[in-house]
Amino acid sequence: MKTATTGARGALGFVRELGETASSLWWQFFDWLAQVPMRQLVITWVLALLLTATPAIHPEQAVAFIFISLGLKVLAGGKRKAEIEARRASQQAGTEELERRLVEAQMAALQAQVEPHFLFNTLALIGQLIETDPPQAAQIHQHLIDYLRSTLPQMRSRGNGTLARQITLSRSYLAIMQARMKTRLAVSIDVPPELESATFPPMMLQILIENAIKHGLEPKIEGGRIDIRAASAGTMLQVDVQDDGVGFSRYAGDGIGLANVRERLKLVYGTRAGLQIETPAEGGCRATIRVPFAPDIFAEHAR
């Protein structure tokens, strides 16, 4: 009984598939007909007539083909051709529009990045440390150089797109912030070695970290900690930035940073990637970026 139902369902599926194939073939034929130049069509007719000499095709079939194709071409071909061209043009315009928006969003992310307040405060700190603690001054100075090198658009080089590269950039920034905030800022970074070579869009992790410090920890008198974690789940890479700062206002604007991250994720990955903001029960704020992830199968051999 059960096999009978499965059999019937299988047959039904087969018929449906046949119908779909037939309809797609018909539309392909129609599209070809609409676009083919008249001269080529005439040549096809001549070929069809020549084939009538062979037993494969009857003269009636060739004549019917000529009539039907001529009729369709004259009656509907023009409209169909215009439709196809319009669709193609709008697709191309869509792609160009997407590319333009992506470039703009990337530029905006880079320009928004180096905050003058951060830069001047760090320079003031270096100036003070030169007098009181020259070795530390040299260290902070080097961190600032590393940070600027990877952040300033003119100096950006290719190969910034791995998770390891993004973490390195953020480490320089966090080292500077720790020198400024002292015991008010604790940092932990947990990225498994096999994820270091994973592709990750530039400046997104940095935007989340700067948000966590600026809006979560700097306003908090006793300061707090920031935890950066990366993990892979199947074909997704997940990067978390969690702080235990003052939390999140529902009335605060989305900010340029988060909106930019969201826009770029959408342009690059569509709905396959996402940015998620949560306020855990224990307080603070957790921002999570998920992007598609292809495990690097050569990583083991390379090492």
């Binding site: 001047f120 003031a124 100036g127 700097e218």
Partner: protein, 258 residues
Amino acid sequence: MKAPTALIADDEDAMRDMLRTRLAECWPGLAIVAEAANGLEAVALAGRHQPDVVFLDIRMPGLSGIEAARMLFNRCHIVFVTAYDQYAIEAFEQGALDYLLKPVGGERLKTTCARLESRIGQRPTDIAAQLSRLLDGHAGTAGGGSRTGRDYLHWIQAQVGSSLRMISTREILFFQADEKYTRVQTAQGEVLIRKTLKELADELDPDEFWRIHRSTLVRVDAIAEVTRDLRGRQMVRVKHCAEQLEVSRGNTHLFQQM
């Protein structure tokens, strides 16, 4: 006359060290009686020590330097110390407040010290009006506070496990009333929240979300097209979503032909 006294407030120790060292060079007679690491501490210590001058960093936890100044201005002379803040500096330049830029030092600090020395003993200038102007301009950076007009809801909170997920209103396609709950639809999926559609309609920016039906609020930017179905009802199609939303008869004016 007793020696002039000062308080330094900055959340970074290195910056307090810098200012203390420079002041000792420029104005050896000035006694630093206290140092504060945040705005609240600054106000408390200023109350206890009654200094003649207070040097306030602007970005500080607890209270910002400007908020602290508002509580102190008629008791002592205020000097702001900031790394970079174009708005504040513009405002100071017009008024009687003094300000210093980090790194502090050189001729600029000498000028400030000379000005302060000549004014100590006099009543501090009344700077209430300037401070409130600064505070208004500062609401954005000082965290929270209201800007001109009212604040609309920009984030929707939804309980997911033990966390509250924050969903930016820019991600939301539409809200739909669903018995006891309200369904929040985004391109990624849907969540349920307890806030009613009426509460949402009151708190959201009316230019961002339109009420097209008794049970539907749609984000204007997410609307892909408006069509009519066979029964003549207006239907809204939303980007990234297969669902069609009905426009109730009373709201069809929203989509009248231009």
